[in-house]
């Protein structure tokens, strides 16, 4: 009982500020403090009129999409490799892919900045994507590793012994097994990239992502427009999470049914 109350308190601590954000996104005036002076949709209207915001949004979506796909492909290759490799090699793969999670974003940001400056690489969307891949790789690898620990290479070998080529084996045996994990890792990566701010600031050059745009808004006057942006993202995140968990559940149900019918 005490545990349940405690959990409820913690969850409300997490959620309350979000409710404040949503509430003020409907504020009738430009102020972000109390007293609350009535409801209005003006900040949502302002969202659609702001061309710079639109650009930043597109940049962020593009970056997040490419990051998610690239991390997914790289992470998948690495985790399949991890499956095939022996102890020491596994450790090496883990060391280069998982270590970034143990470093502050600042460290990754400045070391990338130094490297890119040394090689005179100009900063832009590409460097933002590179940075985001470095940050998301550990999360994909950790998720994949947990999944693959339950995976048996024998399945693949059996499939090949039955005469299937490796591509066929991959498509029909390996991929279905790791697919749910890949999808949820990709969703995570997308969300991380969309909200990343600290590292991005070092490698963005003249590009403006959504968080960078919000940051630059804070340099002038902060209006409930940032709350409106945040509310839209919140709803989008909710939708993505619900869809991905729905997909996962249907898949699980499907595979259960398939197993039962055998």
């Amino acid at each position: 009982m005490i545990l349940r109350i405690f959990v409820a308190l913690v969850i409300s601590f997490l959620v309350a500020p979000l409710l404040i954000i949503v509430l003020f996104s409907f504020h009738a005036t430009a102020s972000l403090s109390f007293p609350f002076q009535g409801l209005s949709l003006r900040w949502y209207a302002a969202l659609f009129e702001d061309a710079q915001l639109g650009d930043a949004m597109l940049t962020s979506l593009l970056v997040a999409l490419v990051t998610a796909v690239a991390t997914l492909v790289l992470g998948m290759c690495a985790s399949l490799a991890w499956l095939r490799l022996g102890g020491r090699a596994r450790a090496a793969v883990e060391a280069v892919t998982i270590t970034p999670i143990a470093l502050p974003g600042l460290f990754i940001g400045v070391s990338l900045l130094i490297a890119l400056a040394l090689f005179q690489v100009s900063l832009g969307k590409v460097t933002i994507i590179i940075a985001h891949i470095v940050i998301s790789m550990p999360i994909v690898m950790i998720a994949m590793r947990a999944r693959l620990a339950l995976f048996d290479t024998m399945l693949e070998e059996a499939s090949r012994d039955l005469g299937a080529n490796s591509l066929y084996t991959f498509r029909k045996v390996t991929l279905p097994l790791i697919m749910p994990t890949l999808v949820s890792a990709a969703v995570l990566t997308f969300a991380i990239s969309l909200d990343e701010f600290i590292v991005t600031g070092f490698v963005s050059g003249t590009e403006t992502t959504l968080p960078m745009f919000i940051w630059s808004m804070m340099r002038r006057t902060v209006t409930p427009m940032i709350n409106a942006i945040s509310t839209v993202i919140l709803i989008a995140t909710l939708a993505i999470l619900l869809i991905s968990s729905h997909i996962e559940r249907t898949r699980r149900a499907q595979s259960l049914r398939a197993r039962e019918s055998e």
């Binding site: 997490l14 790289l74 490799a81 130094i114 947990a146 290479t153 070092f202």
Partner: protein, 290 residues
């Protein structure tokens, strides 16, 4: 067969390994190299000298802001863990509520900057907390210490990184088999007893990892202290970031980053030693990374 598996393994791994070498390992090494270079008024020359380290380590400023960062980080990470352990336990062993998990994920992914700013709305003189307390007649004048203080920074950092911490704790708990807990309950232990005798030792590696990762995040976050810390907002992270963005003394900034990294390692070792002495971490158990 064995040989071909290894060969295909390396082929599959190579793009990722090359990518991470190029954009993570080498840059980190460059940072290390850079920390020995020489900088004087807007000019940087390759060198091998320890001046940057000497300067950083003998500088009162560096220690002052680092102390600030460590205090802020430790306090936030400890509170995060204190909140995440029961919640994680509840979600893994008691309820398994998907809804609560989703809520936690949503808070994690709601905009970092906007959440920081929301806390200004909550903690300011006209903020929610002061307004509520005043209308209840509990206080006469707004409590000014709520905002632009270390308290404000701590609360906000906890809010920012608690979801992350809960997810890490849950991952650690998932590795424990339910039957271990059932067995311990069968032996007559209470829920709390089972928690400390079975759950914590068996999940210790993961829990230490969760604490350390949360600490690294809260200690390294330089935006929150800057926005909410008032006159106490200077941390090592900000000092380092400013060497790169404003002062242009990259070698000194690199040296400070390396020192900060070593400090994190030191804290990690201290946590392990403390955990072993207190008996939360079983001795002679192979530590696994998170």
């Amino acid at each position: 067969m064995k040989l071909s598996a290894r060969w295909s393994g390396w082929t599959l791994a190579s793009p990722t390994i090359l990518f991470m070498l190029a954009f993570f390992v080498f840059p980190s090494l460059f940072l290390l190299v850079y920390s020995f270079w020489k900088a004087s008024s807007f000019q940087i020359t390759p060198a091998f000298q320890f001046d940057n380290y000497v300067r950083a380590l003998t500088d009162e400023l560096f220690w002052r802001v680092t102390f600030n960062a460590v205090i802020i980080g430790l306090m936030s990470a400890v509170v995060c863990m204190a909140m995440a352990l029961p919640v994680g336990y509840y979600l893994v062993f008691v309820s398994r509520s998907r809804l609560l998990e989703q809520i936690i994920l949503v808070t994690w992914f709601s905009s970092y900057l906007v959440r920081i700013f929301a806390w200004r709305t909550l903690l300011g003189n006209d903020g929610v907390i002061n307004t509520v307390l005043q209308s209840l007649g509990l206080i006469d004048a707004p409590i000014e210490a709520l905002l632009y203080s270390r308290f404000a920074v701590g609360v906000t950092l906890i809010h920012l990184y608690l979801p992350y911490c809960i997810i890490l704790v849950m991952t650690a708990f998932h590795e424990i088999r339910q039957d271990l807990i059932d067995a311990s309950r069968d032996l007559g232990r209470s829920q709390v007893g089972a928690f400390f005798s079975v759950v914590v030792p068996n999940a210790s590696a993961g829990l230490v990892g969760a604490f350390m990762l949360t600490l690294i995040m809260t200690m390294g976050d330089f935006v929150t202290p800057q926005m909410l810390g008032g006159t106490t907002g200077q941390t090592t992270g900000l000092l380092i970031a400013d060497q790169f963005r404003r002062t242009g003394n990259w070698p000194l900034g690199s040296a400070q980053a390396v020192i900060m990294f070593l400090l994190v390692v030191l804290i990690f070792v201290a946590v392990i030693v403390a955990g072993r002495t207190l008996g939360f971490i079983p001795k002679r158990r192979k530590q696994r990374a998170v």
